[in-house]
């Protein structure tokens, strides 16, 4: 994967402290059915796979179902730019065809 973007995703997503403040405001968490459909889940999926792991079908659904609406960005106490983490992770996966 593109090194500078990968490093950026790692540094941004790595600041997640698992507090879960982002989850109540996420519109996709409830209809998605599990935490992979919420911001905390997505950020940590990106963190775990940005090194190049192969995403499962469910991981792809989690990452591509993000609305990029930014509700989570507003409430994250660590000020993680969650929207950009998800979008850049999509770009990295597509560029490197890791799926």
């Amino acid at each position: 994967m593109d090194k500078s973007l990968r490093v950026w995703v790692e540094s941004e997503a790595g600041r997640c402290v698992y507090c879960g403040f982002c989850e109540p405001v996420c519109p996709t968490l409830y209809p998605g059915g599990h935490r992979g459909y919420g911001p905390r889940g997505r950020v940590n999926i990106a963190l775990n796979l940005v090194e190049g792991g192969k995403p499962t079908e469910e991981v792809l659904k989690s990452i591509y179902s993000c609305l990029l609406c930014g509700a989570c960005n507003l409430v994250c106490p660590a000020k993680i730019d969650i929207v950009s983490v998800i979008r850049v992770f999509r770009a990295l996966m597509w560029r490197t065809k890791t799926y």
Partner: protein, 317 residues
């Protein structure tokens, strides 16, 4: 939910073949403007980015995808659509509803009339009013997005645009906050027509508009700071603006951005939002074609969803 990678491939192939993410005729983007006789070059230039115009096609595609999602036949359907797209036969598979096409074209004409009344005579690029590429960016198709963004910028510059006036939140955000990072030397000033009208002073006859509840689109409210302007304009036109439980920066998404990937999930989210809005009032004002389409698709005859441009232009409730 549909297979995301298949959807991304369909979008990529359609963009490469037609310059649009979904199968739609190119002239659908600018045919609405011909009766208005706007100059074809100059500044400020109205730049729609095509989102309003392709919304009826998106609604038609989403409607089909929802049926296939239920039948688990989506893989076959997507392969068929990719084949038809490649053969240039995409017009055969997507037929938008005529009333929706007419609705979005009236919105665009109303925006031009409102700008004229406010003393802002816009130029328009017609064939160069190209799709902004916002979906490519959102899906992470960065190389294709960059290539497309440069093409759009050159087209606007060739029409002598210095300031562009945008009509929806997605295009406003992509042109103002994203293009500068992807297009070298980007120097266009970008304003939403709502910002322009609020600055210029809306010239409209005071209506006894009644009550409306406002739905803030995420990109205007959270990323572009367009929150006060629509309220100011509606109030100036005689409407009483009611706020839902979640509004302004704390607004709640309509679900629209994933309607092509996860139609059922998008509908569930839209129902939640529609319920929040309609508990305040039965007339909902939207500022974005995607919000309009998604909320409208789950509304019944007790609720009216209307675009702000039509209300400001004098449409009666």
């Amino acid at each position: 939910m549909l297979d995301p990678l298949q959807i991304v491939r369909v979008v990529e192939e359609n963009m490469k073949a037609h310059g649009l993410p979904f199968p739609a005729p190119r002239e659908a983007l600018y045919s609405w403007a011909k009766p208005l006789k706007m100059p074809d070059r100059g500044s400020p230039m109205l730049y729609t980015g095509g989102l309003y115009q392709i919304t009826p096609y998106i609604m038609s595609v989403v409607d089909s995808l929802s049926k296939f999602e239920d039948l688990k036949l989506i893989s076959v359907a997507l392969k068929a659509s990719r084949l038809l797209s490649t053969l240039g036969l995409s017009g055969l598979v997507v037929r938008p509803r005529a009333d929706t096409v007419s609705y979005v074209e009236n919105i665009l004409r109303s925006i031009v009339e409102l700008l004229r009344k406010a003393g802002v005579n816009v130029a328009y690029g017609y064939e160069d009013d190209l799709y902004s590429g916002v979906l490519l960016y959102d899906l992470g198709l960065d190389e294709l997005f960059k290539e497309h963004a440069v093409k759009v910028y050159k087209a606007l510059k060739s029409r002598e645009a210095k300031t562009i006036i945008t009509v929806d939140p997605h295009t406003t955000h992509i042109m103002r906050s994203v293009y500068p990072k992807y297009v070298e030397g980007y120097d266009l000033e970008v304003k939403s027509y709502l910002e322009v009208l609020a600055e210029a002073g809306l010239k409209t006859e005071q209506q006894n508009g009644g009550d409306v509840v406002i739905h803030d689109p995420c990109l205007y409210a959270r990323f572009e700071g367009v929150i006060g302007q629509p309220r100011f304009l509606l109030q100036k036109s005689g409407f009483k603006v009611l706020e839902p439980r979640r509004s302004g920066r704390m607004t709640y998404c309509c679900g629209g951005p994933i309607e092509g990937l996860a139609p059922k999930m998008a509908k569930t989210i839209a129902k939640t939002r529609l319920s929040e809005l309609s508990e305040k009032h039965g007339v909902i004002v939207t500022l974005c074609p995607i919000c309009y389409a998604n909320l409208k698709s789950v509304s019944d005859d007790k609720v009216k969803v209307e675009d702000i441009a039509l209300l400001l232009g004098g449409r009666e409730l």
